[in-house]
Symmetry: C2
Subunit: 306 residues, 2 copies
């Protein structure tokens, strides 16, 4: 397999694009495409202050590297969830994130769930006696809360996550099985600010997981290779395996699934209930002040209610 641009030996073949590239051209191509998506979905500009959720894994470090090289103004936020297992998972991840930031003289905000709220994720999950999928959903809830709070406290213009196409397709498949109009109406790569929520963008949403992994490897960025010990057997992993089998059978399935969904959204597939800004402003949690649909104590603060 030869690079389409220079004819040298290709290091990656992207069947869904019928495109093979050598290392040099791949390291050019991925940032170019990222820039294209940022502009296409009108995510953010170089004049804005951005906060990136950094996990220490391949996706978030690849995205930080790309945005930094493209000249965007991005700080990182590492949330130490207190997930240890035999791997000392959270502390190891944090070291990779910190090393990355230090080498590039970038700002990484570190936040420790146990120090901040008195309990780690596994401790909260154990106390509320939730099963494995529930641990993942508690973790998601806590991260979203902290992420939005930190962005508001730091006056960031937008928060960024490194979700890739495999992530987005798996969530979309799960939401399609439930047909939740609320969730299906919010799967865009850009969610505008509103009602106390900071703008959210996912610049890697059109890259396959293997593509961000290839970027990280070719750039020689050290990252945590292990998956979170709680992810084994999770619903999302289950759907990712199905999508991988479909992709194998019908190359491009994941990308078509996601892009056709975005087109369907544009065509009005899931009309959303529109709340007025005044209504939304009233829907704040009395404890933390963050937005909540019910207008009562938010789901995050309820986790810590005695």
């Amino acid at each position: 397999m030869r690079c389409r641009k220079c004819g040298q030996k290709a290091v990656i073949n992207m069947r869904q694009h019928r495109l093979a590239l050598c290392d040099e051209h791949y390291l050019e191509w991925l940032p170019e495409q990222t820039e294209r998506f940022i502009k296409k979905y009108e995510m953010f500009t170089r004049y804005e202050r951005l906060l990136l959720a950094v996990s220490g894994g391949k996706d978030s470090l690849a995205l930080w590297d790309v945005l930094w090289r493209l000249g965007y103004n991005v700080d990182g936020l590492y949330i130490n969830l207190g997930i240890d297992g035999s791997l000392d998972y959270s502390n190891q991840s944090q070291r990779f994130a910190q090393q990355f930031a230090d080498e590039r003289n970038l700002k990484l905000i570190n936040l420790n769930v146990h120090e901040q709220y008195g309990e780690s994720i596994p401790e909260i999950a154990q106390r509320t006696r939730r099963g494995q999928d529930k641990t993942c959903s508690i973790c998601g809830l806590v991260k979203r809360h902290i992420f939005n709070q930190s962005a508001r406290d730091g006056n960031y213009d937008a928060v960024i996550t490194a979700h890739n196409l495999d992530d987005e397709a798996a969530v979309l498949l799960s939401n399609s099985l439930d047909w939740s109009l609320e969730r299906l109406g919010r799967g865009q790569p850009l969610l505008p600010a509103g009602g106390g929520f900071v703008r959210k963008a996912k610049p890697f949403c059109r890259f396959y997981e293997r593509e961000s992994a290839a970027y990280t490897l070719l750039r020689g960025i050290p990252y945590i290779h292990e998956e979170c010990p709680y992810s084994t057997g999770s619903k999302q992993l289950f759907f990712k395996q199905d999508l991988n089998r479909w992709e194998e059978h019908m190359p491009g399935t994941k990308l078509r699934f996601y892009l056709n969904y975005l087109t369907a959204l544009d065509e009005g597939a899931f009309p959303q209930r529109q709340e007025s800004p005044a209504e939304l402003d009233q829907q704040r949690c009395p404890i933390c002040g963050q937005p909540t649909i019910t207008g009562n104590t938010c789901a995050f603060c309820r986790l810590f209610e005695k």
Copy 2:
């Protein structure tokens, strides 16, 4: 496992309903539920003339038996597709359908694609050089055309198919991956008449395949056990296998997937373009007179264009 109604030995356990039944109560339950769905979705009444698509398989013969016992006025339509293989598949299926009708003194209309149009389904597929999935799509196109034409010619009030939940869920999953608003907007158990299309109803849409199979077996109805030789490796079968794995892992998945979809439709997902009756009346194929979206020669007639 004991029957919930009488405590006798159960012959079927429906995990999604947490309901186990003996043979006697199962043979009562399935028609009661069918009647419930007919009323719930306002499909048709006992005063109307109905045309059922009969394949000679377990679903269509079970449905015909149930509707006949419930006192509905149903004729059958068997379309001989000329699929032979080593099994003489089409002719065998036809014999099962005819035997069923004769034993109950019911009217079965027999129609032979080769006799009517000069070519069988495999011959059309071969001439137009289509692959396996395409053979299934040609077959679907031909059956839909003949079915609608026969219902209009015979002045039937509604056409009925015996699609079960496994069929509907597989089609829905396939359509969800494509996000075709046109197709996703038309997955209801009842499609009203309009623009030259006869009303269409699917009274078995909420039964799992194994439930209609159990009914056919317990009633002792002979039917063709073989699957169509062309179905092996088809896209629909592929998705059915995935849904079966999900169902195994999370009982009730198929039913929730389908019912949540119907709720989403009710809540305004996939709004359909509304054509006026006058517009629709102009969109007729100049060759066969049946409705066609383009207003030019319909897809069925194009199959036979030289």
